[in-house]
């Protein structure tokens, strides 16, 4: 008996990959989610009518979404409000059942909400908090320790690590209601990561934070991802977050997948221009500039030009040759603008329709 099972084990263990570890951290195939929304017009009469006679409307939040994410990847979900980002996150974390399609996270079906699955994931929502309002965050940490059944030593170790990384040694001792938004978010992250999850769902984790706090949160997420090899899936309104954190973006619009790939590639495909910002000692001639590229802005001491990427080299060389130019920087157009242009484009489907 013993020998047989050994051989079997040996057979399974080659190639040397753990049997249970899925090759993909997240697999989504043909995911659709339809909500039944109760419709009501404005005004008292409409409200009264809706008391007796309710109309329901099916809202297609997500439609035929497919993608997969490898362990340790950092992926950003982009899309306008109501595009289906949060819905997708909720389906992935098991809070919502998919109407159609298959979803696997760490090899589990999320909607079953098995204990082993729940111990591997975490969800942080920038707009909602799990910290106990009237008590210091350390109490929430203790509670989560009990809930996740974390061993004392592991807990101490993790908490020490998080406390150092997030610098929350003193603030975690103060009642949550006395903390600033940024301090609260740091503690919120700590509370969500005590059980060392392997898959992080972050829904607008930097919303409302000032720039330096955004940076802190961003750096922390990056370092957690590198230390623990955890998969990070993030939605954010701040393009800078996504640009700094996520080598890969998935763009969702009207519940459909619009783009899946690297952010620089997306920017290149939407806007094949580069922006050249100039500081000048004397005003430049507009007509002369127009010959180099499109003039975005021009005043006495400053000029901004848009130049096709292919012509960038020549343009820079030319501009540097002008004596009025004191400083020159080449940058991508602001990400917000790129995305606006991208969403303004018709989808493949709309183009196909007459």
């Amino acid at each position: 008996m013993g020998r047989v099972s050994q051989i079997q084990v040996a057979g399974f263990c080659y190639p040397p990959v753990p049997l249970m570890a899925p090759a993909q951290s997240v697999v989504v195939k043909g995911l659709s989610k339809v909500y039944q929304v109760h419709e009501r017009g404005a005004g008292l009469t409409a409200s009264l009518r809706s008391l007796f006679h309710r109309r329901y409307r099916a809202v297609q939040a997500v439609q035929d979404l497919s993608f997969s994410i490898a362990p340790g990847e950092r992926v950003g979900f982009l899309g306008p409000n109501g595009a289906g980002k949060t819905t997708t996150l909720k389906v992935l974390s098991g809070l919502l059942h998919p109407t159609e399609g298959e979803v696997l996270v760490s090899g589990f079906v999320p909607q079953r909400r098995q204990v082993e699955f729940l111990k591997q994931i975490t969800l942080v929502m920038g707009q909602k908090q799990q910290l106990l309002w009237d008590l210091p965050p350390v109490e929430t940490f203790a509670l989560n320790r009990a809930i996740y059944d974390i061993e004392e030593r592991t807990f101490k170790q993790t908490l020490d690590e998080l406390t150092t990384l997030l610098d929350i040694g003193t603030i975690a001792q103060k009642p949550t209601r006395q903390l600033s938004l940024g301090e609260r978010m740091k503690c919120e992250l700590a509370a969500a990561l005590l059980h060392r999850p392997q898959v992080l769902f972050l829904d607008e984790p930097t919303i409302g934070l000032d720039v330096s706090m955004q940076l802190t949160v961003r750096e922390f997420i990056h370092s957690y991802n590198e230390r623990h090899g955890a998969t990070v899936i993030l939605t954010s309104h701040y393009m800078d977050d996504v640009a700094a954190l996520c080598p890969r973006v998935i763009v969702i619009d009207h519940g459909r997948l619009r783009y899946d790939g690297s952010l620089p590639d997306l920017v290149r495909s939407v806007n094949p221009h580069k922006q050249i910002a100039l500081r000048t000692s004397a005003p430049l001639d507009r007509a002369a500039l127009e010959r180099v590229g499109a003039v975005v802005a021009l005043d006495a001491a400053r000029a901004v030009l848009q130049v096709p990427r292919a012509a960038l080299h020549e343009a820079v060389a030319h501009l540097l040759g002008r004596p009025e130019v004191t400083d020159l920087t080449v940058e991508d157009p602001p990400l917000e603008e790129v995305m606006r242009a991208f969403f303004a484009r018709p989808t493949a489907e709309q183009e196909a329709a007459p």
Binding site: L95, H97, L118, L143, A146, Y148
Partner: protein, 261 residues
Amino acid sequence: MRYLRLLLTQIRISLALGMQYRWEFLLGGGLTVVWTLISLVPLHIAFSGRPPIEGWTYERALVVVGWFTLLKGVLDGAVNPSLIRVVEQIRQGTLDFTLLKPADAQFLVSTAKFEVWKVVDVTAALAIFTYAFSRLGRAPAVVDVAVALAMLGAATLVLYSLWILVIAAAFWVVRLDNLAYLFNSLFDFARWPVTMFSGIWRVIFTVVIPLALMTTYPALALLGALPPRTGLLSVGGALLFAVVARVVWRRAIAHYTSASS
């Protein structure tokens, strides 16, 4: 074992919370004493120095009020605070956090908050019992105390299950805080022995809203006058009710879609 540790952690946190607002809670304790005394006034007017109503003398009715106070303390201390919070959490969508925890959601929401200072209610109830039995000139038998406590357990279980059903309804309807008020005002009838009500009211208060089970039966038990069959039926009924509530809860969770998509 793990859930016991979880429960202890929750209680410890509630204690920490209670300590933070000690003045508020001390004041609350003082008010409880005043209200208990005030609640004795109508009883005093209805019973004192008059012939017994439906077999209920002043002292025996006092025992019912004692159970009412005790049960109120248990409910306000251990059941209501947690469950009122759930309705709020459903509305705000923060219940998501609870549902993503690798522990039973019903357990988590039911033990989220304890009002430790409601111990005052329990003390008040004990004072009423002492007074009533000293007037009766005897002490309750040990067996009767045990049966009465079992009845208290059954009553708490029924009320808790009612709450769970209300919350399960909240998953569909979302806004239900008013139901909590209705619940509280109906509960107020439980301070009267149920056999004092006649006709349809007695049926309603026994079967539909089990006020009889809540206070009259424990009181009868403590007085040594509860028919064993009624006691067994009550415990069995309470257990059955809890199972039903659990099943409905699970279905409600499956149906739950969190606020804001």
